[in-house]
């Protein structure tokens, strides 16, 4: 608590200006608070699930998270020790106290917590140089791993699915011939122990130069990571995934008015474009939110719909909005990506991340 010296109002520790009179509060006593804690990188201890989900789900979540380490998140990977908050804990994770490790801002000299990207006092980009280094490292990593994989490939393989392991490194790869390649739990090998894969899950084939995946009516589907800032249209029933969350878009529906002309009473309808609903069972959805005409943002901390307990969702992750009467999903530069469930078939461009069962792959060809 900081008591303002001008008006005596009590302010929270992280305030820089008095809520009562606007006077600047003494800086040394204001504890910096993070509003941009990084998304946990790959290799983070798995999130505890509060429900009785099968244990196999944990590895899948890690696999998803690992994408960040490869090339997308230039922030140095630091273990984040804050565990997901138990339901009874009133303190959300983003408000958890920061560690004492700080370093001086090169621009203004303020002590900035290690996990800040920007100086909380002057706004200087602290990782402007560091991220350059990280990007320079990334290509090397990508070159070396496929070289190993190629050595083990039969000559006939035209493409391969490279397994991205929970720690972010590349694991085994699965060769795809120029013909049809069926994969699933019955295929064996790297797919055999994945309880979230159907026995016959997906089929890959080539159409000209393009790799195509077909969902073989699998239970959990095939998800493809969408490009940042490239809108993807959503249709009624479209399913997408951010972090560990499966979300469904539902177009607006409404019952007919009564025959006597009486309208259904209710909360003000602000021209909603539809809803997004959390999928928690085959035919079951949990929390749902209508999408107003101006659209909504989703994130772990920022946005209209937040997922404070899902460490695999970025602070600000994606948005759903409307353009020319259609509804679009756009990833806004999340670390772990936004994945869209393939409806029947989809092209798989070179380098695309594909999520099947609890495993994440990259398509290389």
């Amino acid at each position: 608590m900081i008591v303002c010296s001008r008006c005596s109002k009590e302010n929270q520790d992280h305030y820089k200006f008095c809520l009562g009179c606007g006077a600047e509060l003494p800086r040394q006593s204001s504890q910096p608070r993070s509003f941009s804690a990084p998304t946990p990188p790959g290799g983070t201890p798995s999130l505890g699930r509060t429900t009785d989900a099968p244990p196999a789900q944990v590895g899948r979540a890690e696999a998803l998270a690992s994408a960040s380490q490869l090339e997308l998140d230039p922030t140095p990977a630091e273990p984040v020790r804050s565990k997901p908050v138990a339901v009874e804990d009133p303190l959300p994770p983003e408000l958890a106290p920061l560690s004492d490790e700080t370093s001086p801002c090169p621009h203004c000299g303020s002590l900035v917590p290690e996990n800040f990207r920007f100086c909380h006092v002057c706004g200087d980009d602290l990782h402007a140089e560091a991220s350059g280094d990280a990007l320079a490292d990334a290509p090397e990593e990508r070159v070396s791993a496929p070289a190993v994989a190629e050595a083990s490939q039969p000559a006939a393989a035209r493409a391969r699915l490279v397994l991205i392991q929970p720690d972010g490194s590349e694991g085994e790869s699965f060769p795809l011939s120029g013909g049809r390649s069926l994969i699933g739990r019955a295929t064996g090998g790297i797919f055999a122990n994945d309880a979230y894969l159907s026995p016959e899950h997906a089929e890959f084939r080539f159409e000209g130069d393009q790799l195509v995946v077909k969902d073989m009516e699998s239970l959990n589907g095939v998800y493809i990571r969408i490009e940042p800032e490239v809108p993807i249209e959503l249709f009624d029933g479209s399913i997408f995934r951010v972090g560990q969350e499966i979300l469904r878009f539902e177009a607006p529906t409404a019952p007919d008015p009564a025959p006597d002309g009486t309208q259904h009473m209710g909360s003000p309808h602000r021209g909603y474009l539809g809803r997004i609903a959390l999928v928690i069972g085959r035919q079951t959805t949990g929390n749902s939110y209508p999408i107003p005409p101006q659209g909504i943002h989703l994130g772990r901390e920022r946005g209209d719909v937040v997922f404070p307990e899902d460490g695999y969702v970025s602070g600000l992750h994606c948005r759903v909005n409307s353009e020319v009467g259609h509804v679009f999903l756009t990833d806004v530069g999340s670390s772990n990506g936004t994945f869209v469930r393939v409806s029947n078939e989809s092209y798989v461009p070179q380098g695309t991340f594909v999520l099947m069962g609890q495993q994440l792959f990259r398509a290389e060809y």
Partner: protein, 262 residues
């Protein structure tokens, strides 16, 4: 000298006690106002046990402050009702609700309307799955937590569901036109509604209080409580409901206050 203590017969000047229709001495008729000593009110509004409905917020056609005296035994309110008409509110059924006396008591009966009759709660009330309630401009429905449909398939493939948390019930916002809006699953046993810092928040609903209402599972039963909100929490009545002085009712967009003279 003193005044005669009874009615005096205009024919024979004999005293006639109250209750007599004819003069006992000469048989002349007694005027009706002299037959009984019943005291009348100056106006009907003073009559005990008779209730009034005051329109606190009405639709455009039926301005605010209008009042209806419930002098008959039944009084139908609705979009096409004669006694208490609200012609421009299309949330009201043609015959929406009936205000009637049962003995000394005034009751309101939902006449099978589409949108129902809502009464402001005075204390925490029991509430059931499927019940509707209102806070500010928002309408809600209590729903049961659906059965878990995320078990494995016959072929032992597990269903991947989003992380779920234990939740005793859920609250669904009902939008005008009938579409479902927000669905919020209770955090374990409880769910709070308001402008800010609640489980369901309506920052732009100017009729809602910052902390407005709470739904809670206690034991096996659900309870709806108003959190000292300015405008109150309203629950939809089932069938009919006894009214007392100071009750507030929502019929469609119309807010009515009940006044009963003691």
């Amino acid at each position: 000298m003193e005044q005669a203590r009874n009615y005096v017969c205009t024919e024979c000047a004999s005293a006639v006690p109250s209750g007599h229709k004819f003069c006992g001495a000469c048989g002349a008729g007694v005027p009706t106002e002299a037959q009984t000593l019943e005291t009348r009110f100056f106006g009907a509004l003073q009559m005990p046990g008779k209730a009034r409905l005051i329109v606190v917020r009405g639709d455009e056609a039926m301005g605010e402050g209008l009042s209806y005296l419930l002098q008959a035994t039944e009084h139908v309110a609705g979009r096409e009702a004669d006694q208490i008409p609200f012609p421009s509110d299309n949330w009201l059924s043609p015959a929406h609700a009936n205000f009637l006396y049962r003995g000394e008591k005034l009751v309101v009966r939902d006449e099978g309307s589409l949108n129902g009759v809502y009464i402001r709660i005075r204390a925490a009330v029991p509430i059931q799955i499927g019940d509707h309630f209102m806070c500010g401009q928002q309408l809600f429905r209590i729903d049961a937590t659906p059965k878990d449909t995320s078990g494995p398939e016959a072929d032992q493939t597990h269903f991947y569901s989003s992380p779920r948390r234990p939740s005793a019930f859920r609250v669904t916002q009902v939008l005008e036109g009938g579409m479902d809006g927000i669905v919020c699953c209770a955090h374990e046993q409880s769910l709070q509604i308001g402008r800010e810092d609640c489980d369901i928040n309506f920052p732009d609903d100017i009729h809602m209080s910052p902390r407005h209402a709470r739904v809670e599972m206690s034991g096996e039963s659900l309870q709806l409580a108003d959190e000292h909100s300015q405008n109150g929490t309203y629950v939809r009545i089932r069938g009919e409901r006894e009214l007392s002085h100071g009750d507030y009712l929502f019929l469609g967009r119309n807010l009515l206050r009940v006044e009963v003279t003691a």
